[in-house]
């Protein structure tokens, strides 16, 4: 077996790289686009004149002017200042379900770049078949009756669910009365935010301070004839699984409301338990998490939303159907909420996820869940052995696939808190961790989620680095607080500016306006 090594002598590149606008020299060019040949010019005329006026800029865009070599050097430098997407020890990104995304699937996705969604259906039967079959897998995995793959991410799918709930109550003439949705403080923030965007009021349950999950009694206080639905994650951010979830669902449905299960991250339960058996009306999966396709800058994402029979008529159009001979797009849903995005889904992501499921098979999916949980239990044991680490709630009870830990004790003892430790981790060449969604219900939090693709050595490396930093905090707290020392960039000089609309700048133009007056 591989040997555990803490990379004590790691050092990241530090290029002190200017912003690309600062590298700009007026008149410099990366490529010179050749003028068309005279013959073509004569025939075609000035093609740009055909552009509609409304699409033409009034002024030249402000783009950096820079040579090819400079551009390449610039991006090379920036890339060297990263830890490398998908290839680091990413178990730290709790609630994000970071796992290794097999390269072969990226290759496969490359094969469909020439397909355009406006092509005739008959010319993309393969792609539609993959869509249809992947939907079938999701139906099996969740027990839902039909899925839409249209949403472009998790929150987008949850928003789509909220829109469907609105349509459902409207069709029953109850929308005005049912204006509240219920969620929990440890469910993902989009479970509150997207229904609010869809026009609902939000009622949030606070957990019982011992069990870490809301009491049924709290739910009963929240449920009324005003309840439209509950939006809930389980296990919640804490990693604690609510074993009474079916009773929650019953209570809500008895009041005439619907239940949406946020299964963005289903890594702890694939092939083990299903939304249907708990009684849910709908659920969603983040395809770019659970189903092995990349996140973030390697994205794009995809959010698959599934519903039970009584909600199918509200799904976005088109859905992908099969008439026994060919696959086709069905737009015939008079009660559909309409489109939430172009076309029928993020085709390359669906393809990669389909391939991922096919490679694993039903047994493999179950094994994903088992290994994720096993990895998590092992890591939890290792991490909780570190003096200064605590785990709020449900002491002694195992978490599912992730754990929200805290550094309360270490912070009290040394003044070194979770943000300090997070920055120091980068000095060992591994990814800093995810603290918590806001508000920080658990103080000094950090959340780890070791998915199935990490080895025992990866887990041990992470725990060993945390342990080492806790020791450093006791020996020299100022050193840890001043970290990182070996990363591409240091502390943010004025963190409060990140909170200040007068100061933050996410574009060059905003930077000039706010800081170079």
């Amino acid at each position: 077996m591989a040997k555990l090594k803490i990379r004590e002598n790691y050092h990241q590149a530090r290029w002190d790289e200017p912003i690309i606008y600062e590298l700009s020299t007026p008149g410099e060019r990366g490529i010179l686009v050749p003028e068309p040949e005279p013959e073509i010019k004569n025939k075609a005329g000035d093609v740009l004149l055909n552009l509609p006026e409304s699409m033409c800029r009034k002024e030249e865009p402000n783009l950096p002017e820079i040579s090819q070599k400079q551009v390449l050097a610039h991006y090379l430098h920036l890339s060297q200042e990263t830890l490398g997407s998908n290839l680091n020890n990413d178990i730290s990104q709790g609630t994000c379900t970071m796992k290794y995304n097999p390269r072969i699937n990226e290759k496969l996705a490359g094969l469909i770049h020439h397909v355009h969604p406006l092509q005739d259906e008959s010319t993309m039967q393969g792609l539609l078949a993959i869509n249809y079959k992947f939907e079938h897998f999701l139906k099996e995995i969740s027990g839902m009756d039909k899925f839409t793959l249209q949403p472009g991410g998790g929150s987008h799918a949850v928003y789509t669910a909220a829109s469907i709930i609105r349509a459902y109550h409207e069709s029953n003439g109850e929308l005005e009365q049912r204006d509240e949705i219920i969620t929990t403080i440890f469910s993902h923030p989009c479970d509150a935010a997207t229904p609010a965007t869809a026009g609902f009021k939000v009622v949030t349950l606070y957990p019982n301070e011992e069990t870490g999950i809301p009491d049924l009694e709290a739910l009963e206080e929240a449920v009324s004839e005003r309840t439209a639905a509950v939006f809930i994650t389980n296990p919640e951010d804490t990693g604690i699984y609510n074993r009474e979830i079916d009773k929650f669902v019953q209570t809500v449905q008895n009041a005439g409301a619907l239940c949406f299960y946020d299964q963005a991250n289903a890594n702890g339960m694939l092939g083990i338990t299903r939304a249907r058996e708990a009684g849910f009306d709908m659920c969603h999966f983040n395809v770019h998490k659970t189903f092995g396709t990349p996140h973030g800058c390697s994205g794009p994402g995809s959010g698959a939303l599934g519903v039970r029979e009584h909600l199918v008529r509200f799904l976005p159009v088109p859905t992908v159907e099969f008439d026994g001979e060919k696959y086709y797009l069905d737009y015939d849903k008079p009660e559909s909420i309409g489109k939430v995005r172009g076309f029928f889904g993020v085709a390359p992501v669906t393809l990669k996820a389909y391939s991922w499921v096919m490679m694993l098979g039903a047994e493999g999916l179950k094994e994903v869940a088992e290994i994720s949980v096993l990895n998590n239990n092992y890591l939890q044991k290792k991490v909780e052995e570190i003096p200064g680490v605590g785990t709020w709630y449900a002491e002694g009870r195992r978490r599912l696939e992730q754990v929200r830990y805290n550094w309360i004790e270490l912070e009290e003892e040394t003044g070194v808190g979770t943000d300090d430790i997070m920055r120091r981790i980068g000095d060992y060449g591994i990814q800093h961790y995810w603290t918590s969604h806001h508000p920080w219900v658990v103080p000094e939090p950090f959340t780890l989620e070791p998915c199935e693709t990490y080895s025992k050595v990866d887990l041990e490396e992470y725990a060993a680095v945390l342990k080492k930093i806790a020791e450093e905090a006791r020996k020299d707290s100022e050193f840890v607080k001043a970290s990182p020392h070996k990363c591409a960039s240091h502390n943010i000089a004025k963190p409060e500016e990140l909170n200040d609309p007068e100061k933050w700048a996410i574009t060059w133009r905003a930077y000039l306006r706010k800081h170079k007056k």
Binding site: A196, V202, T204, A218, E221, A222, G417, E496
Partner: protein, 370 residues
């Protein structure tokens, strides 16, 4: 930059020997006899030590001996010492020191003590200059204190360097110590002082950023006003969270007392329990209250007018609790507390209740009657 620096040297002495506070000379004597030794000077030094990088840039104004001079000199500062040296110092000296410093245009007043000390400072300073408390007393209910002495130093340093410019209002609260030692708890909200704001370092009582808290309170007030029904009496509790409700209605507000509103007009200001009972007799009424102080009381701390009798008459279903999300989070999972002195009424509250946290949001939170 001018820094006022006041240490209440006897703060905290009672705690170590099991007394509940050190306010009152008799108690102090008793504490001494029980073997208490001064804690506050050590803690004050811990905080002031963080300001040594500014040793040449700030002028420290302080009081003689253990009230600040000794601590500052021990750290190598060269403070300007006001007032006369005395053997025994008390609350009057704290107030006198604050008054002199105020006259000399200090930029920040850093003081060490407990709730009693905060009250003394408040009596003189009010909201005239920013202050910051170094927690050294037995009772720290006031939100003007940093989490620990070290963080008081860190916040002061950043403030004096101009890195922190934001200010928030923080509660000055105190418990009646004579009653407290007899196991009766009556706390009072005395007022608010201005405190430099730094998310992580100041008492977690209200950990939200000032703008965020302000807009949350504003949004809560919109909800409360929108829910107001004709001819119902609204009994508006004390605190900064209820203030925006009155502002929105264009009505005068009693920050530290109870006002009554009907049909968006003021019915009575700063009412007593008896007056409330008179007003609600035979009428429909609702109470709007917020969580006061760090321990999460909605009744029984700072609003004794809203007695068990009043609550009984109005009914628990007519109580609307309001609080920003951050304020609830800062309770650290502890329930919201009710201590009306009436067991039956307290017991009614052992349940989950809705708390309005913004225009569109409520949180279901556990309430506990003592």
């Amino acid at each position: 930059m001018k820094l006022g620096f006041i240490v209440n040297p006897i703060a905290g002495m009672g705690g170590k020997v099991g007394l509940k506070g050190t306010d009152g000379m008799e108690i102090l004597e008793k504490a001494r006899r029980l073997g208490a030794y001064p804690e506050a000077p050590k803690k004050a030094k811990k905080a002031l030590k963080l300001l040594t990088p500014l040793i040449n840039d700030i002028e420290i104004l302080t009081y003689p001996g253990k009230m600040g001079e000794d601590e500052a000199i021990a750290l190598g500062f060269n403070p300007k010492v006001l007032g006369e040296k005395k053997d025994i110092v008390g609350p009057d000296d704290t107030e006198e020191a604050a008054r002199k410093m105020l006259d000399m245009d200090i930029d920040l007043l850093l003081f060490a003590g407990g709730d009693g000390t905060a009250r003394n400072i408040y009596n003189v300073v009010g909201d005239k200059v920013p202050v910051l408390g170094i927690p050294a007393g037995v009772k720290i209910h006031s939100a003007v204190y940093a989490n620990h002495p070290r963080s008081a130093g860190e916040v002061a340093l950043k403030y004096l360097k101009g890195e922190l410019t934001r200010i928030r209002e923080a509660e000055v609260m105190d418990i009646d110590e004579a009653a407290f030692r007899k196991e009766q708890v009556t706390a009072k909200l005395y007022g608010y002082m201005k405190v430099p704001f730094e998310q992580q370092l100041v008492q977690s009582l209200k950990a939200g950023r000032p703008e965020e808290e302000e807009s949350a309170r504003d949004s809560i007030a919109d909800r409360v006003v929108a829910e107001m029904k004709p001819d119902v009496l609204y009994i508006i509790g004390s605190g900064t969270s209820t203030r925006p409700i009155m502002e929105k209605l264009g009505l005068p507000n009693t920050l530290l007392g109870i006002d009554i509103v009907k049909n968006k007009k003021i019915v009575a200001s700063d009412v007593s329990e008896r007056e409330i009972l008179e007003h609600i007799e035979g009428r429909k009424a609702k109470i709007i209250v917020t969580v006061i102080g760090g321990q999460g009381y909605i009744f029984g701390r700072g609003n004794q007018q809203l007695s068990g009798n009043v609550i009984r008459k109005i009914g628990i279903d007519n109580i609307r609790i309001i609080a920003t999300k951050n304020k609830l989070v800062s309770l650290g999972g502890q329930p919201i507390l009710v201590d009306t002195g009436d067991d039956k009424v307290n017991n009614m509250f052992n349940r989950y209740m809705r708390v309005v946290t913004s225009y569109n949001e409520e949180i279901i939170y556990k309430v506990k009657g003592l």
